[in-house]
Amino acid sequence: MSDFLAAAIRIATPLMLAALGGILSECAGVFAVGLEGMMLAGAFAAIIGAWLSGSDLVGVLFSMLGGAAIALAVAVVAVRYRADHMVTGLTANILALGLTSYLLRVAGGGRPIAIHLTPLQAWPIPGLADLPVLGPLLFVQPPLTYLALLGCGVLAIFLTRTQAGLTLRATGENPEAVFTSGAEPLRVRMLAVIACGAIAGIGGAVLSLQQVGTFTDGMTRGRGYLVLAALIVGRWNPWGAMAACLFFGAAEAFELRLQSFGVPVGSYIVQMAPYLIALAVLAGLGRSSRLPAAIGQPIRTE
């Protein structure tokens, strides 16, 4: 059982970080469909950065840059040029896929460069790690997982207790009100999207740097889209989104367990579980999900 929960947390970590970024973007009024591409770019940049510098920290910093780069494209086209948010996000994902695969091969002189780093080790927290049950589960985790958990609290405080967070949320509800209160809604949205990219990039670093130590084409495999569902289920609230991500992580861990148990259902059907569960949860929520009022609406400047 504790194995199962550990797996759930492990699978959920990249989702959680991406979700934190997604909340920033969507609360400011920009659909975060580009999360997939931001994560992928972050995953790639993390490996390259860590490999070039020999330092994992530099790798994480690079991952933020990688995610932010893709986010910049989304910010310019969707926010500044007012193109449709969803389609722009999709486009950014395609671009990220192409760029990462291309650069991976350019670095390797035509074939994918073979980088194999040691995945990040767990950092046990002295004292807390010895607690029964919770100890090994929550307090013996690799560093980026702690970052994800801390990030939740920081984001919650930021959104509800600071002027900047208030302005960000207001931009997603009524950009005109923000304008007349003295801020620039366009700038707020662009910054929110870029910040989203940086944080989602760290989520990508979890996949590549923390979990396997290498980068493979398209390694995010649609996780960014799953996070979109988590945002809705978690009602754009950091704690809710974290819970939703854990839930999806558990769903996938469950599916992996099922496979190893040799259930009579076909193995591919079993792999559908996370997606079907996500659909079922969204369908169950249906009418009660309430988006930020101005999300997706372009900002007109006089």
């Binding site: 086209v77 389609v87 395609i94 091969r105 649609g222 997606y275 369908a283």
Partner: protein, 356 residues
């Protein structure tokens, strides 16, 4: 609510539009798209130069790889076909304001349907079995899209998420079916047995292109006609401009949504069937990977006009056909083509905002 007394901040075409085909737009829509394409090629050239290769040589290899020989041209047309069909269906959805990114799953399911019908149909008359198999594919795709639409309409799940999540399910479904009833034993990888000769699509020599491209062009023309000359197309366009206006006009928005999704699904399913019967002659796992996003690319490049999607799809098809030989000859990774597609789409989006 107050009436705007000043000029509208919304970009509107400068010239009146004619009712009917609008290949000549006063606001230089297609010129903008062309510029976007050129810009992205320039960026790609820069990327190639940065990686230490000669951009011009790469470009030449790309072009000769695409159109160098009849065989290669045929291969390009073959690649273009599913993009053209799926792009047309997606464009119709976008026109109605519905973002359908489920083409990948609908193509996969369509391929599955076609293979199933082809394997079961015992007719020796090739035309009949081909048509039946293709219809089976279209039907399967339509069903899959209808499912997404039902989830979207019935439970208010956003259509992007509904179509997207069902993509994953569709791909897994096809894999499961290939591991089971439709699979070929002892093949080593997931594929169906070779489909009966009678169902194969005829090929045009010396190009070695299958007739799917012609089917796709006819389909594009029919879609364009539907969009501009039928009441259904009019309703779609109204709904895409303004949902309250569509309700006021007496159109049923749920019915419109469902219909255009099913239409797009059928067209995508047909594309899947054509891939299976024309190109691979069997059902292979993952044969539709990436097609959904290609469909969106092509739809945007063609400014959501089914007839203009023909050259748009050709552009993408030629790019991809040429990229493999570019990789072989010059050493530039074929992933560059995906970068070009992504950049092109971004520039097109920025250049055509609110004009589509």
């Amino acid at each position: 609510m107050s009436e705007p007394t000043s000029s509208s901040p919304v970009a509107v075409p400068q010239q009146a539009r004619r009712i009917g085909f609008r290949l000549h737009r006063g606001d230089h829509l297609f010129v903008r798209i062309l510029i976007a394409v050129l810009l992205s090629m320039l960026c790609a050239g820069a990327l190639v130069a940065v990686s230490g290769h000669d951009p011009v040589a790469a470009f030449v290899a790309l072009v000769t790889g695409a159109v160098g020989s009849p065989h290669q041209i045929g291969a390009a047309f073959n690649r273009t076909t599913p993009y053209l069909l799926a792009g047309g269906g997606v464009a119709m959805c976008f026109r109605a304001g519905i973002i359908n990114i489920g083409a990948e799953g609908q193509i996969a399911v369509g391929g599955m349907g076609t293979a199933a019908v082809a394997l079961v149909w015992f007719d020796d008359l090739s035309a009949v079995s081909t048509v039946a198999a293709l219809l089976g594919g279209a039907g399967a795709g339509a069903l899959w899209a209808g499912l997404a639409a039902a989830i979207h309409l019935g439970r208010r799940v956003h259509e992007v998420l509904a179509t997207l999540l069902l993509n994953f399910v569709a791909l897994l479904l096809v894999q499961q079916v290939l591991a089971g009833p439709l699979g070929e034993f002892g093949a080593g990888f997931l594929q169906s047995p070779l489909l009966p000769r009678a169902s194969w699509l005829p090929r045009i020599s010396p190009f070695n292109a299958h007739v799917g491209f012609l089917i796709a062009v006819v389909a594009a023309a029919l879609l364009s006609f539907t969009l501009w000359r039928t009441r259904f197309g009019f309703a779609l366009r109204v709904a895409g401009h303004s949902r309250p206006a569509a309700a006021y006009a007496g159109f049923s928005l749920p019915l419109l949504t469902w219909s255009v999704m099913v239409l797009a699904g059928a067209v995508a399913g047909l594309a899947g069937g054509i891939e299976v019967l024309g190109l691979h002659r069997r059902l292979i796992e993952g044969f539709s990977l990436g097609f959904g996003f290609k469909a969106v690319t092509v739809a945007l490049l063609g400014a959501l006009e089914p007839l203009a999607i023909v050259p748009a799809a050709l552009f993408v098809g030629l790019l991809e056909a040429g990229s493999l030989s570019m990789q072989r000859q010059i050493g530039v990774p074929s992933a560059l083509v995906v970068v070009i597609e992504g950049l092109t789409m971004l520039f097109v989006l920025a250049a055509t905002v609110r004009r589509l």
